[in-house]
Symmetry: C2
Subunit: 344 residues, 2 copies
């Protein structure tokens, strides 16, 4: 916003001059995550993206937030990763429809954040956008001292992508006998942190404990908890045309999200152990004495993305996806649950 | 998200079952704000919008939040209006580029909100989308008890619209001699509430005082403060081709936002009193002993939108816009400020 400092407004808790100083820094971040289709620059009332060269475009859009992973990141002063989390989460959400990500807009709201903290957060957004070939088309930073506690903030974002009409992926072509391929997660991604914080007592924990090397985790607890959400678009793009359905394992875990792509006549059977589970999940399970069924409904438990393909296609698709494995199959739906995860 | 209640997760503060009950209610709201281009329904990982019938589309997108007007609305239990505020604010932001609004996604985050409160808030979003011919394509509701105080919430949204390539409005055609036409605001819209709350002591005020009839305001203080943000797309659409530049008067007020559409060689001179000022602004000015210059940099002071047109076009455009008036003109830029608002 192009607003000079005004003494009373500043006294009321909004430092407009500080926000003005941010504009050129945000502009530089947006330039670092550009695309040739972007017209004009960030800072006007809106962002423009030239779609005229795309044939038969169907837009695919999603809004999401980082959730309480923010509280862990803020406590540890690691602010750049959360920007990566929200961008990659959104990339995966529209990837489920077969969409190529085009542009992203961020929403950062809080109280008492310094300019450098804001730039670190939005800088993480811009870096993830640049990595994913996504334009950072705009965003909003809001200071709301009356709503957020000093130092607190929330981060959300919206992504827009495109898929050619007729090439949308919606799971409608899934049939019994299809194979389910899993792509590994690198941790919690952005779901289940409210439960993880409670059972690991993260809010009361001394940062030293969270930052201490932990052989069982292959790094510190902080490293394991703040591993950025994996973006699957780059890996999956070459085989998208062979994907009948794609489930992003977020809130709802494996059963909840795999069920979202299954036609009514289909169920899914997955084999626990067919994919690797990062040790952070066992740490959470043990600390909270959480049953495996609940673990799988709250966390991704190592399965970041589940993809349905023709059984005859499975080996070829797996070979094209680093770290992927066949994790189960589609079955006819009976009176039982839509998704069964068999224990080892 | 399709996640059944899990005892520990619920104990940790996230009532997934309650959120599940919201999904059909949100779906009904989305259906109430649809467009024929929307493919599939809300509730999947993303929303799809068929753009294939649009010729040479340039997408125009904007993200914004309601800001601390939320705190006034929550204090008075008037939750439906804030949804209208964010949708109409976003409609106006992309209107400045000449864009027709297509779809909107909302982000609602908080703690301790009941299902009916969430539906009231998102219902206001849906109603404003329906009024504006905007599809409610998706959204996110997040419960974050660790971040928000019980009963607190934040509301933001993202709009995507379209303008035909070559028809974008960016102010570049503005020349000295052009007329500036003003469209009236109905109040603060969504800017300046942090200052208004401070000088009117709204956070400490008894609701009775805010709800009492006030002859000077033509209603209660609550009515004046919570008047929903005006959407200017319906009125301006018929004359868009005659608009050289459009400034949405938001944070930064009249000087800050009019300056954003002026070419380097141009300045603007507006005449205070050429547009009506709702009495709430004088109430704020008097309560805070705020100078007129600061008032105009923080609030819209009755001017919701400023539009630059050819002088010869001014009378015709004014005649086509209910409540509009010529409020100033474009002048050559000298060493002075880009925007001067002359007192009466």
């Amino acid at each position: 916003m192009a607003e000079p400092a005004t003494p009373r407004y500043t006294a009321a808790g909004v430092d407009i001059a500080a926000n003005d100083r941010l504009i050129p820094r945000y502009r530089a971040l947006a330039r670092s995550a550009g695309r040739p289709e972007v017209l004009g620059g960030v800072g006007a009332f809106s962002g423009l993206f030239d779609l005229s060269a795309f044939e038969e475009p169907v837009l695919v859009a999603s809004t999401d937030g980082v959730g309480t992973k923010l509280l862990v990141a803020r406590r540890l002063g690691r602010l750049d990763g959360v920007g990566c989390d929200i961008v990659n989460h959104c990339i995966n959400d529209i990837l489920t429809a077969g969409a190529r990500p085009l542009f992203f807009l961020d929403y950062l709201a809080g109280a008492g954040l310094g300019e450098d903290e804001k730039v670190a957060i939005v800088g993480g957004v811009a870096a993830a956008c640049a990595d994913g070939g996504v334009a950072l088309l705009g965003g909003e930073t809001a200071d709301m001292p009356g709503l957020y506690r000093d130092g607190d903030f929330d981060l959300a974002g919206t992504i827009v992508g495109v898929v050619r009409k007729g090439e949308e992926i919606d799971g409608g072509a899934i049939r019994p006998g299809d194979a389910l391929i899993g792509l590994p997660s690198n941790g919690l991604h952005t779901n289940g942190y409210t439960l993880a914080r409670a059972v690991l007592r993260l809010d009361e924990a001394e940062p030293e404990r969270l930052l201490a090397p932990d052989a069982g985790l292959g790094g510190s607890l902080a490293d394991a908890l703040l591993a950025p959400h994996t973006a699957y678009w780059p890996a999956l793009q070459p085989v998208l045309s062979r994907c009948k359905g794609i489930a992003h394992i977020t809130g709802g875990g494996i059963p909840g999200n795999v069920a979202r792509i299954l036609p009514d006549a289909c169920a899914a059977r997955l084999r626990r152990g067919a994919w690797p589970e990062p040790p952070i999940f066992e740490r959470i399970r043990a600390a909270g004495e959480i049953g495996d069924e609940e673990m799988m409904r709250v966390f991704n438990c190592g399965l970041g993305l589940a993809v349905a393909v023709e059984a005859s296609d499975a080996a070829g698709v797996v070979a094209a996806l680093p770290g992927a494995a066949v994790v189960g199959e589609v079955t006819p739906r009976d009176d039982g649950p839509a998704v069964i995860v068999e224990s080892e």
